[in-house]
Amino acid sequence: MHAVNGVSIDFEEGEFAAIVGPSGSGKTTLLNMIGGLDYPTEGNILVDNTDLSTLKSSQLIDFRMNHIGFVFQSYNLIPVLTAAENIEFIMNLQKWPKKKRQDRTMELLKAVGLQDRANSRPSKLSGGQQQRVAVARALASKPKFILADEPTANLDSKSTGTLIEIMENLNKEENITFIFSTHDARVVKRARRVITVEDGKVISDERKE
């Protein structure tokens, strides 16, 4: 049994796509392979003409840092750092100058509506707020695309609505590609492309006008 089997799929810049399917259908595995966290046993993954399957582990890590942003289901913020420090973390890894880091952090906090909570630790933020910080963190290094694995799974409906709106705005304004794996009908409704996966195979791929 293969988690993903015979999948061939392309994503273009600026897409707002949702990968849907029941639990165990292979959505997360597909997302992980696109993000370079899993290797395909056959085939390859090309991101901007770079074949991820040919990169060594250390090269993959660097590639992810510079090209891909991640948003996780359970936020996965660093609990000992503030919201601002979490966002700055990647920029620190990339050795951005301090002023440039701080400016970008503030810009992102404003974009997600949390400029007043810059110095709050994750434990002082609601689930929705934490996920917004996670989105800001994913965008910090200006990646090619954001991979979001069930980003709304732990959120209430109001927070879900706010988060999707933020991501949609960023997608439209900055042309950032968003690829979600999701069960959430509200996310599917807002996606402009819906890829349905079942038993590791893509069974449908619909683009909306």
Partner: protein
């Protein structure tokens, strides 16, 4: 890098209680180990100092074979000339010569074999500090004017020969009252007023019969101290052979009694004026059995000993390590104990750190997976885990070292009194009042080793963190 270190420092305090427990265990371990080493070092240091300053000096020179039987005929001729030459050697501080003769010391009730040491007090004072060990109120160091020849004897010999006695009289009871001994205790010993006890043993036995165990333990020392009496003008008889093997001797007045906290030494070493001994034995004025040397820097003992051996190949030249091999052996053994203690402390520290950090890696599997996913490379993950370990170690280590330092500083000035075990200590030649000591080198060494241990202990947990597959780690609950 700063971000990694800052994050690592904050991670240490993520679980405050666990971190504080680990830090406390490191602190206690370090403190206990360093203090124990300080106690051992201080004890040995005091013993060696006492031996060098009161008993054997740094170097001794005598005729070959003299120490086998202390043959009176094995003399150093022209000893004054030899002494002058020795004084001119670089590093030598002072020289004194001695006669050493086996003798019997007797009083009316007891006798004992002793070693009679004929000294020249002014020269002897430059080499050894025996004069400073005089018990207050027991006389002086050969300053008495008497028609009798003078002897300077050890406290334990004085007790053995019943020269020191124990007596409770009105003045003793008054002194005990002034010292704050409860009236209840004083009334128990009052029936012994004007009783003279022949020995310390008999005195203590009588006290134990009337006092409770707690009272004996608490007040016994003070009662013994006050009841201690020494009759001024006490005398003893010394009997020995002269240079012609004819028995001779004389009556000596006790000039003073010394206490060097070494029972064996006090019972055997009895000091008289060299001129008196030469008069009685017929030994030449310019001869001696032993030259005693004091040197400026103890660390130069071996070099100076070799130099003197080159100068006097026909004589036996021994340094303190050779004269008291037991002392040298104990010193070497204590140094090895330091190393063993250090290894135990560091091993315990290491296990504690490895255990804690493995738990940390396990608990943060998902987070570590996330960090790798978003682009934190292996080197940075490794650095972060290692930094957390080093910070934990450093905090516990530094606090432990500070507490040890303060405790050692305090106890080094006040000392720790093991009075209840004084007899046992003195029987082995050790003072019961110990002043712990630690060298700065040891302190620095321990600090550096703590840091190294922290670093090395973090390697395994950090490697565990590196082996995590980010995709698998992210799936962890």
């Amino acid at each position: 890098m700063m971000m990694i270190l800052l994050t690592a420092w904050k991670n240490v305090w993520r679980n405050k209680i666990r971190s504080l427990v680990v830090i406390a265990s490191i602190t206690v371990g370090i403190f206990a180990g360093v203090f124990a080493v300080g106690l051992m070092s201080g004890t040995m240091e005091q013993r060696v100092d006492a031996a060098l300053n009161q008993e054997v000096a740094h170097i001794q020179i005598n005729q070959p074979g003299f120490r086998d039987n202390y043959d009176i005929d094995l003399l150093l001729e022209n000893s004054h000339e030899v002494a002058k030459q020795l004084e001119n050697i670089s590093g030598v501080s002072a020289v004194a010569d001695r006669l050493v003769i086996n003798a019997i010391a007797s009083t009316a009730t007891k006798s004992k074999g002793v070693q009679l040491i004929g000294i020249d007090p002014p020269k002897e004072k430059q080499v050894l500090e025996l004069d400073k060990t005089l018990i207050a109120g027991s006389g002086n160091y050969f300053e008495t004017k008497s028609r009798y020849k003078l002897a300077f004897i050890g406290e334990d010999l004085a007790k053995e020969l019943n020269i020191i006695r124990f007596r409770i009289d009105e003045s003793v009871l008054d002194s005990l009252s002034e010292k704050g001994i409860p009236e209840e205790v004083i009334s128990k010993i009052r029936p012994f007023q004007d009783t003279r006890f022949a020995s310390e043993k008999a005195f203590l036995k009588s006290m134990k019969n009337v006092l409770s165990a707690m009272e004996s333990k608490t007040y016994g020392g003070s009662i013994l101290e006050e009841a201690w009496t020494f009759r001024d003008r006490s005398k003893l008889t010394l009997t020995f052979l002269d240079k012609d093997n004819i028995q001779t001797g004389g009556m000596f007045r006790i000039a003073g009694i010394y206490d060097v906290n070494n029972s064996m030494f006090e019972e055997s070493q009895l000091f008289v004026l060299q001129e008196d001994l030469k008069e009685l034995t017929g030994i030449d004025k310019d001869a001696a059995h032993i030259e005693l040397l004091k040197i400026i820097d103890r660390d130069q003992t071996n070099e100076i000993t070799e130099e003197i051996r080159q100068l006097y190949p026909e004589l036996e030249v021994l340094n303190w390590k050779e004269i008291s091999p037991d002392l040298a052996m104990m010193t070497a053994m204590v140094e090895k104990f330091h190393a063993v203690f250090l290894i135990i402390i560091l091993a315990a520290l290491s296990f504690g750190i490895v255990n804690t950090m493995l738990m940390v890696v396990l608990e943060r599997t998902k987070e570590l997976g996330m960090l790798t996913a978003i682009g934190m490379n292996k080197k940075r993950v490794f650095t972060m885990i290692m930094s957390e370990s080093v910070f934990l170690t450093l905090v516990g280590g530094v606090v432990g070292m500070i507490i040890s330092r303060i405790t050692l500083w305090f106890t080094a000035s006040k000392g720790i009194n093991f009075a209840s075990a004084a007899e046992g200590f003195e029987a082995m030649g050790f003072s019961a009042h110990i002043y712990p000591s630690i060298t700065n080198t040891f302190f620095i060494t321990v600090t550096v080793l703590i840091i190294i241990t922290g670093i090395l202990s973090s390697i395994y947990p950090a490697l565990k963190a590196l082996r995590l597959d980010p995709a698998e780690a992210l799936r962890t609950e």
